[in-house]
């Protein structure tokens, strides 16, 4: 009997099984990452029929309409912006291409709620555009005829699109760069003009890339909390937060479950399209696509790209600098500010450290002991990647409130939730690093007399370390920017920079919000090059 189990166990691992400690650590990580979400789902199911009925009658249809319409609008704008910019910056003779293609990618790393603050400062009721308008029209105060309302559907869609289009842009750029010139030349040789070639050949070949980009944008819209709530637009995440603030955990869970289902739907759709639309580009006669001369359209194209850079990067940064100066003059950088900064830094560094430590054994087991078990644990560890942070926050609130009350309301819970949310970033970096060191490295070390344990420390870790460290840096930056989880889980009095930016902006104390927002942007730009290469 035991023999049979042993045999099955070894078959499962295709030979050697990993050590007990490795299994134990990874199982614990795997369960940490899924339990909060499972708990939310269980709570939602147990919420009771009447509550479901009530929410399904009113709240959910309303939220679905608002969320989905926003998602569609943002995705469309982002696709138009991303594809047009990618094409102009890869396939045409636009001047300053190198600098511009770097600049248009920057919005990727600016957290949209920071962007929202900036646009409220530009276009909002106390923004400088309004001041100019009032000055020109002569009507002021309650007589103002200022037509732009940033706190509207279009305002939210515009802000979100401006900070998510880089997903589409970067994926399209890399697809364009990989595209073989032969296809277009084949089309040309069959008598197709440039325009028709673009529609019939180029665009269809780009479809998988544009599709993945669009889905990333849509997923982001589902998960965003900061920007939408700052602009007073209520989607699922914001509704969950307000239910939680009103201590209606059951309703919050029900809404979360709907949001989880929406996210899963999108992810399934994504993997289904990826499977069916897998184009193979012939490898061995690759030639870089040719560059199109823009001719008399060059000035217009350049104007368009520069306009996007102005709107997406330069205006927000300049306006934040201006308000930061106002803030600093008025004493915004006081002791409180530095305490928030310190809180942000410490929580983020601890989360980064924990992520690095936990990522290594998971990646190691996945690549060195491939089996259904190691793959499942790896997948589990990725749970936090796709799901909105708000749901992870809610899961931790519910779980720790119920079962581990002595930890609830401490920084530990924030760190754990950050780990669940950002561990995938460390995993990706670690996996990329370990893939570079093939299993022959282990075997070489073993054949030279080093035990598996010693091999790990003498060969694997030194080579994995740079990758793991860059993963840790990514986690750190993401954690610095994180808003919803911190909002949900922070102990009383424990504010981070992100939380302060959110509250000051909500209360329209912009000169206090600006310095923090500016710091967020500066920190976020650090890993930009890494992010660009990733997509």
């Amino acid at each position: 009997m035991i023999k049979v189990i042993q045999l099955k166990w070894r078959q499962l691992w295709h030979g050697d099984s990993p050590g007990f400690i490795l299994m134990l650590i990874n199982s614990m990580t795997g369960f940490l990452t899924v339990i909060p979400i499972f708990y939310v789902i269980i709570q939602a199911i147990q919420a009771g029929l009447s509550r479901w009925q009530r929410l399904l009658d009113n709240r959910i249809p309303d939220l679905l309409g608002k969320t989905l319409s926003l998602m569609v609008a943002v995705t469309i704008i982002a696709v138009v912006l991303g594809v047009s910019l990618a094409f102009l910056l890869v396939r045409t003779d636009l001047p300053f291409k190198k600098l511009l293609s770097w600049l248009v990618a920057i919005p990727l790393v600016i957290p949209p709620y920071v962007g929202a603050v900036a646009y409220i400062l530009v276009l909002g009721p106390s923004g400088f555009i309004k001041q100019i308008w009032d000055h020109l029209s002569g009507n002021q105060g309650s007589l103002s005829t200022y037509p732009i309302n940033i706190f509207s559907f279009l305002g939210v869609a515009f802000v979100l699109a401006m900070f998510t289009y880089p997903y589409v842009y970067l994926l399209t750029v890399s697809a364009l760069k990989k595209m073989n010139r032969n296809f277009e030349e084949a089309a040309a040789s069959m008598g197709m003009g440039a325009g028709r070639t673009f529609l019939k050949v180029t665009l269809p070949l780009l479809r998988p890339a544009i599709g993945s980009g669009a889905i990333l944008v849509a997923l982001y819209v589902l998960s965003d909390f900061g920007a939408v709530s700052m602009m007073r637009y209520v989607t699922f995440t914001a509704a969950i937060y307000f239910q939680r603030v009103g201590f209606d955990m059951s309703s919050a869970s029900v809404l979360s479950l709907v949001l989880v289902l929406l996210t899963l739907l999108l992810l399934t759709f994504d993997s289904a399209t990826k499977r069916s639309k897998h184009y193979v580009q012939t490898g061995n006669s690759f030639r870089r696509p040719n560059v199109m001369a823009l001719g008399r359209w060059k000035a217009l194209a350049l104007f368009y790209v520069i306009l996007i850079v102005l709107i997406g990067v330069i205006i927000p940064v300049v306006i934040l600098i201006r308000w930061s100066i106002v803030g600093i003059v008025n004493g915004a950088l006081d002791q409180r500010f530095f305490r928030f900064a310190w809180n942000s830094m410490s929580v983020s560094s601890i989360a980064a450290l924990v992520c690095m430590v936990l990522a290594m054994p998971i990646v190691y087991m996945k690549l060195r002991y491939p089996s259904i078990i190691s793959r499942t644990l790896d997948r589990m560890a990725y749970t936090g990647y796709a799901l909105p942070g708000m749901i992870i926050g809610l899961g931790f609130v519910a779980l720790f409130n119920q079962y581990v009350p002595w930890l609830y309301g401490t920084v530990v819970v924030i760190v754990l939730a950050f780990v669940v949310r950002f561990l995938p970033q460390a995993l990706q970096a670690g996996e990329a690093a370990l893939t570079q060191i093939g299993p022959q490295m282990d075997e070489a070390s073993r054949s030279l007399g080093y035990s598996p344990m010693k091999t790990l420390f003498k060969v694997i870790l030194p080579n994995m370390l740079p990758g793991i460290l860059s993963g840790g840096a990514l986690v750190f930056v993401s954690a610095m920017k994180e808003l919803p989880i911190t909002l949900m889980l922070r102990p009383p009095g424990f504010d981070t920079l992100a939380v302060r930016v959110y509250f000051e902006a909500q209360e329209a104390v912009y000169y206090l919000a600006a310095p923090g927002a500016l710091i967020m942007i500066l920190i976020s730009i650090l890993p930009l090059n890494y992010m660009i290469n990733k997509y």
Binding site: A444, R446, S447, P462
Partner: protein
């Protein structure tokens, strides 16, 4: 006795129905270089991995020197076997320099002098502080071999060591690696699918197919006296004929006439046998008994590959001629046969 004995070994990979190795037996004498030659998937790499301790056999025994390292009860892990391994892509540790790579795992008190000794053996003096990414392909291979030799292993295992080198470097490194291994006095097993590698470097060649040994012998035996169709076809090019053996005369009767026999395998007295006649076994001789017409002629620079249709038959024979021969397609030529290139098997 530092011989390596593999006895009755069978290995089936999980998920495969066909075993990668079937009842494999091999006795390797200390100090020899043995190559395992065969097409991909013939089980040659499996032997290497089993001897190194990276895989575990289903049945069978492996004995390195006086110690059994693997059988039904015993299993010595890779790190305790004292086996040196040179990997196909060398697997040099990218975070260590040449000196540290070569010294990796050596724990003797003569550490420094031993590393120096090995560095000199493989001609890498002056490159001690380089990192692997700053070395050429040939240098990387020297480091890999040196690293495997430092601990004075019972046996050095080499997995397709030449496959990532270009042709020129490959020829140099074959000679060089043979010299290094012979100078160090180590036993070596190496795996290749390239017959030139196997023939030039080894004392013994083991030709394998489908997890079984097809023939074991010196490079000359394998080339000149193949013992079955697989070996005759896989190693080099050959002319295959059918024939009947005349035992008393030591000849074989074929469609092109009666040929002298160089080697006969499995003499069961069957009527019909296979005859392998290597192209080198045919030489121009104005008085030779075989007359044929040149039907195809390829000038190769160093020699001429010619196809000859033997007169009175439709048998076509491949032969090599000196590149100075002024023949043309359609010319009649006379040949004689060297018996050393005629091998007969069933």
């Amino acid at each position: 006795m530092q011989d390596i004995i593999i006895h009755n070994m069978t290995k089936t990979y999980p998920g495969n129905s066909e075993p990668a190795l079937k009842n494999f037996n091999l006795h390797i004498q200390a100090g020899t270089i043995v190559s395992l030659l065969g097409p991909s998937g013939c089980g040659k790499s499996t032997i290497l991995r089993l001897v190194a301790g990276f895989e575990r056999a289903d049945t069978g025994t492996i004995q390195l020197g006086d110690t059994v390292v693997s059988d039904r009860h015993i299993w010595t892990p890779a790190e305790k076997r004292g086996v040196g391994m040179v990997f196909q892509d060398y697997a040099l540790f990218p975070h260590l320099n040449v000196y540290q790579n070569i010294g990796f795992g050596y724990k003797g008190t003569d550490c420094h002098s031993r590393i120096q000794e090995v560095i000199e053996l493989v001609n890498l003096k002056g490159l001690e502080n380089r990192f692997p990414n700053a070395l050429s392909g040939g240098q990387q291979q020297r480091v890999a071999l040196a690293r495997a030799l430092t601990r004075r292993p019972v046996v050095v295992l080499m997995d397709e060591p030449f496959s990532s080198l270009d042709e020129e470097l490959r020829m140099q490194m074959r000679i060089e690696i043979k010299r290094i291994i012979k100078e160090s006095g180590t036993t070596a097993i190496f795996v290749t699918h390239d017959q030139k590698d196997a023939i030039t470097i080894s004392d013994q060649v083991v030709v394998m197919d489908h997890g079984m040994i097809q023939q074991v012998g010196s490079p000359r035996d394998i080339y000149q006296s193949p013992e079955n169709l697989f070996v005759a076809n896989f190693v080099g090019r050959t002319n295959l004929l059918r024939g009947v053996v005349h035992r008393e005369r030591g000849t074989v009767e074929t469609v092109i006439g009666e040929l002298p026999i160089g080697h006969i395998h499995h003499d069961h007295g069957e009527a019909k046998v296979h005859v392998s006649l290597r192209p080198e076994g045919l030489f121009l001789d104005p008085n030779g008994p075989i007359i044929g017409c040149i039907i195809n002629y390829t000038y190769m620079g160093s020699s001429i590959d010619a196809e000859i249709q033997v007169r009175g038959t439709d048998q076509i024979l491949l032969t090599h001629m000196h590149s100075d021969q002024p023949f043309q397609v359609g010319d009649l030529v006379h040949f004689d046969i060297m018996s050393g290139y005629v091998s007969v098997f069933t």
